[in-house]
Symmetry: C2
């Protein structure tokens, strides 16, 4: 029995949207799903109980960050990431690929792997597929991601091709090195914004028979329309009975458009990051709580929201908390933003059930303005 | 019927310790009690539900800070402090006396009141007893404190005497200006470290018949032994059937010694302030979680503690959170420290019931070292 299995419950007749269920050693996850990000073994400003309350059923943590601090060996001695951070639900760890390649001049790529310097102290490190598997196995998440190269945008065809081919060879090495029954290893489709490269990558990774597939290298600066095109060309090339995970994507519009194009899993730091700057999602669009207009506004952040924050606190109070830099402010907006996205995914799943997701999209965008409030 | 009444349940035969019950419009409080401080309409890093969980039954908020931000009129429009900050239990507001006098060169005292400049933007303000009553009535706490002058230590006898006499005159003006049935106004005994001045202050304030008395101007730099001497000379001069509140005091040793000397109420920023620096109370004394010795320590902060933090997280995890500056770290240590002090007060009340508080003190200090870990 594989560590993680996927049950495809329904496919939409009007789009590529799917309803599914992910079975993991730490519980069952309804898909499509949004995964909050706990970069350093904590979802910023949130407790595990609050994550449960907002409906989070699986979270992500970052291999690169945990490798540097506190170190994967320490986490292994703690009994693994679940035990270390007191999260009893499923966890997915990324492979550090995105973080390492974001280091720019601080890293050097070869066939063997990537040499890089820590963004913290400049110390030298070397990530190979084998090393990353060692780290991810020590962390002990339910799902580990293969080590890949995430190329930026724009990126020339030739380099993207060479990089994608190397990512496939690394995926094979990851499979070879990975030996942890209770952990699933997902491959990552690359190929930049080139559909033919995406097709080759998908074909080769599918032949390796991973229990799930990440779609990497998107949302790295390309226009959203281009991302959507690549997505709808790529997901049909992946097996229907395996989950597809669009990495690092999490704005409300991208979640809806991603699901419509056949994506089952998403993660993004966006909701918690903007929350700490005082920006919150509402059904009308984003709201900047520091704005003077909310000084005397005793209504909730979002009139349509039933979350703890909206049930108990006013915009005026939240504005005050941000104004005087109180921690409770960050807590309440982080809570609300995660609730908002997770509730959106719940609505999306309901809409797939009745095959009304395209209507839902129309309805949603008739209210929701993506542009940030000035 | 007065807004706040006090029921004296028991007086110790072996010390000045008392057991009591404070009835307020927002609930009943068992005394002796420790009040967490919510300076800016939030107890730093804590939610109201967590305050309830750690056993907080009454909290304090600061008039000076709330007057500056967000302004007492805004809080009044929000329906008062309880509604604004979503705390349904009793609240006590201080008078701003301590904060204003801490401004040093930024303030000028006259018989009329105190002119001061905001520590935030240098803007000029004038606090009189009447103005402070207006602010505290707008905030709407269950207990308001009279506007007083808090003199520092050391302070010469003559100035302390003049200041104490003025504080008494201000107390009379506060009584005149205060007109809010659902709010109790407590007077504040001053007189520095001079027992005869404390006696005059107590006598004069008692003649004004406040429903409770603060003991101010202690823990301002004087040796603890001197504070204890003043305390045990002062509390017997206050009516037995009124609560006595030792302002700004909250270390474990001072709580125990204060109760033994007849104090019923305490407040202090200490537990939450040191928590945010990573220092926690344990039954053995203070522990500095950043210390390298806790890197691989998978045991709880305090082996004798049953709080949420100690039930779910290891020293190694907390050290990691502080090391990488994660908000959850501050939350968990703040929670623990408040639980520790409030649980200590619970133990103290139990010991008064059986009149074994002196034994409890001995037992406590046989384990607890006040000195901070290096």
């Amino acid at each position: 029995m594989a560590a993680v299995t996927f049950e495809l419950l329904k496919e939409s007749k009007k789009s590529l949207a799917r309803l599914g269920r992910l079975y993991t050693p730490h519980g069952v996850v309804e898909t499509p799903v949004f995964m909050p990000v706990g970069t350093q073994a904590t979802v910023k400003a949130m407790s595990p109980e609050e994550l449960e309350e907002v409906g989070a059923r699986i979270i992500l943590s970052n291999t690169y960050h945990l490798y540097l601090r506190p170190g994967h060996e320490l986490i292994e001695r703690a009994g693994g990431l679940h035990s270390f951070m007191n999260w009893t639900g499923p966890i997915l760890t990324d492979s550090g690929g995105f973080q390492v390649f974001s280091l720019g001049d601080l890293r050097k790529i070869s066939e063997e792997g990537v040499e890089f310097r820590s963004h913290l102290d400049g110390s030298k490190h070397f990530f190979t597929p084998e090393k990353v598997m060692e780290i991810e196995m020590a962390l002990g998440a339910d799902i580990a991601m293969a080590f890949d190269e995430c190329v930026g945008y724009p990126m020339e065809y030739e380099y993207t091709k060479r990089s994608m081919e190397r990512t496939t060879r690394w995926a094979e090495r990851c499979l070879q090195a990975h030996h942890k029954e209770e952990q699933a290893l997902f491959g990552i489709v690359q190929g930049g914004v080139y559909q033919d490269l995406r097709a080759i990558s998908a074909r080769d990774l599918v032949s390796l028979d991973f229990p799930g597939y990440g779609i990497g290298g998107l949302s790295v600066g390309e226009p959203k329309e281009l991302m959507y095109e690549i997505l709808e060309a790529t997901t049909p090339l992946l097996p229907a009975n395996k989950p597809r995970y669009l990495m690092g994507v999490g704005s409300p519009d991208c979640l809806i458009e991603g699901v419509i194009r056949g994506v089952d899993m998403f993660d993004c730091v966006l909701p918690t990051r903007i929350a700490r700057n005082g920006t919150v999602f509402t059904h009308q669009g984003k709201l900047v709580i520091r704005n003077a207009r909310y000084k005397d506004d005793f209504t909730p952040l979002d009139h349509h929201c039933c979350c703890y924050t909206c049930r108990n606190y006013s915009r005026a109070y939240l504005r005050h908390l941000f104004n005087v830099e109180e921690i409770l402010g960050l807590r309440l907006t982080s809570y609300h933003n995660l609730y908002f996205l997770i509730n959106l995914m719940q609505e999306i799943r309901e809409a797939i059930k009745t095959d009304t997701l395209l209507d839902f999209r129309e309805e949603f965008f008739s209210r929701y303005l993506e542009k940030e409030e000035k």
